[in-house]
Amino acid sequence: MKPIKTPQQAIENMRDGCSIMVGGFISCGRPLAVLDAIYEKGLKNLTIISNDTSKEETGIIKLVMAGRVSRFIGSYIGMNRIMGEKLKSGEVKIELVPQGTFVERIRAAGAGLGGVLTPTGLGTAIAEGKEVLTVDGKKYLLEKPLKADFAVVKANRADKYGNGFSAGSSKNFNVAMAMAADHVIMEAEEIVEPGGLDPEKVTFPCVFIHTLVPVAKPVKGGK
């Protein structure tokens, strides 16, 4: 069984300067309650690893605007002008990664692999300073694993062992990130007893999850 905590309790061990993976794609499958707790706690000098920074001035952007994020690794920051300003001013060190490479680097870290050999990025600025390997006559870029101190992910439903289910397109980066951090916090809109989740429909195997945080369901019709 995994401890069930409030967002505040769940981040007790987070310290200034730590790296945090944040699941979600734009607003879908975003663990906003824990992000709010990180903001309230005043944590700073954070490395945030997330596909994007979303459109709204919530979650990651709220942390960025408060000057708490020193480094961001992701694939897209174009939805929000704030990140453009931070990139220009140099206040946040931003590393942009192709989206498929981003998720596969994370999965590699979680799967115990030493990296990923991908054709994506060959012959582009992404390849600068990286090793190119030839396998069976085909060239690939060596991309290194990406891991973090913490991952914050979101599920629709979880059981008390930490098995989780995510519907529709809310699985996105949550699944790979749950594999790739030392401590994984999973927000769940519903927490059920063992047996309350069909084992055939588990998106997150319990083995990856350390802490559960019950959260409210998003309002239908929201962005």
């Binding site: 734009i26 992701g74 990139l87 998720v103 991908t118 994506t120 629709n156 397109s169 699985k171």
Partner: protein, 217 residues
């Protein structure tokens, strides 16, 4: 560009998609292609944020917070669709399982090189899925205006902007022309009904090989 010109590009591309193909549409003109995909052909749209079977935008009041398209807008999934995580989604793309990717472009050149993610000195919005899509999809189709807002050719001899991917473009469809990228160079296969070969060449920065049997669209 006028809406009817954008729709013309989308309509021509839709005709190109074979039955039962899996297609990913980028934002802008590529999204318009959905208007021209007839039902019953078994074509399914891949949404890189995690599903196959992207349907119409969700009706107001019917939005599901767990289902959005690659632009983050509330979406629907068609009967026969399937959901997966981002790692699987990009395995589909990179592994060569996606039949078509339809993308916008800033520049395309004679070698089929594509530049569509950044203009140096301006804001870099990011790369998103563009590099993986152009490297991984079986067919890379560019849907774009023939010239830039300033009237400069977007089909050029050599891309001057940072590349998204080298030598991956297969087709370029604009409001004026249908061009196939081949080993020999760019082949002008069709021109729009209201233009001439001379006008297309005048507005193109790259060498065009005019097909023997030139079509119209």
């Amino acid at each position: 560009m006028e809406d009817n010109m954008r729709l013309r590009i989308a309509k021509r591309i839709a005709r190109e998609l074979p039955d039962n193909s899996i297609v990913n549409l980028g934002i802008g003109i590529p999204t318009l292609v959905t208007n021209f995909i007839p039902g019953g052909k078994g074509i399914l749209l891949h949404s890189e944020n995690g599903f196959i079977g992207l349907g119409a935008p969700a009706q107001p009041g019917q939005e599901d917070p767990n289902l959005v398209n690659a632009g983050g807008e509330a979406a629907t999934i068609v009967p026969g669709g399937c959901c997966f995580d981002s790692s699987m989604s990009f395995a589909i793309i990179r592994g060569g399982h996606l039949d078509y990717t339809i993308l916008g472009a800033l520049e395309v050149d004679e070698e089929g090189n594509l530049a569509n993610y950044t203009i140096p000195g301006k804001f870099i919005p990011g790369i998103g899925g563009a590099m993986d899509l152009s490297v991984g999809a079986k067919n890379v189709v560019i849907a774009m205006e023939h010239v830039s807002k300033h009237g400069e050719p977007k089909i050029v001899k050599k891309c001057s902007l940072p590349l998204t991917a080298p030598k991956q473009v297969n087709l370029i469809v604009t409001e004026l022309a249908f061009i196939r990228a081949t080993e020999a160079g760019l082949v002008l296969e069709e021109i729009a009904e209201d233009t001439t070969v001379e006008e297309v060449i005048k507005n193109t920065g790259a060498r065009l090989i005019v097909a023997e049997k030139l079509g119209r669209f």
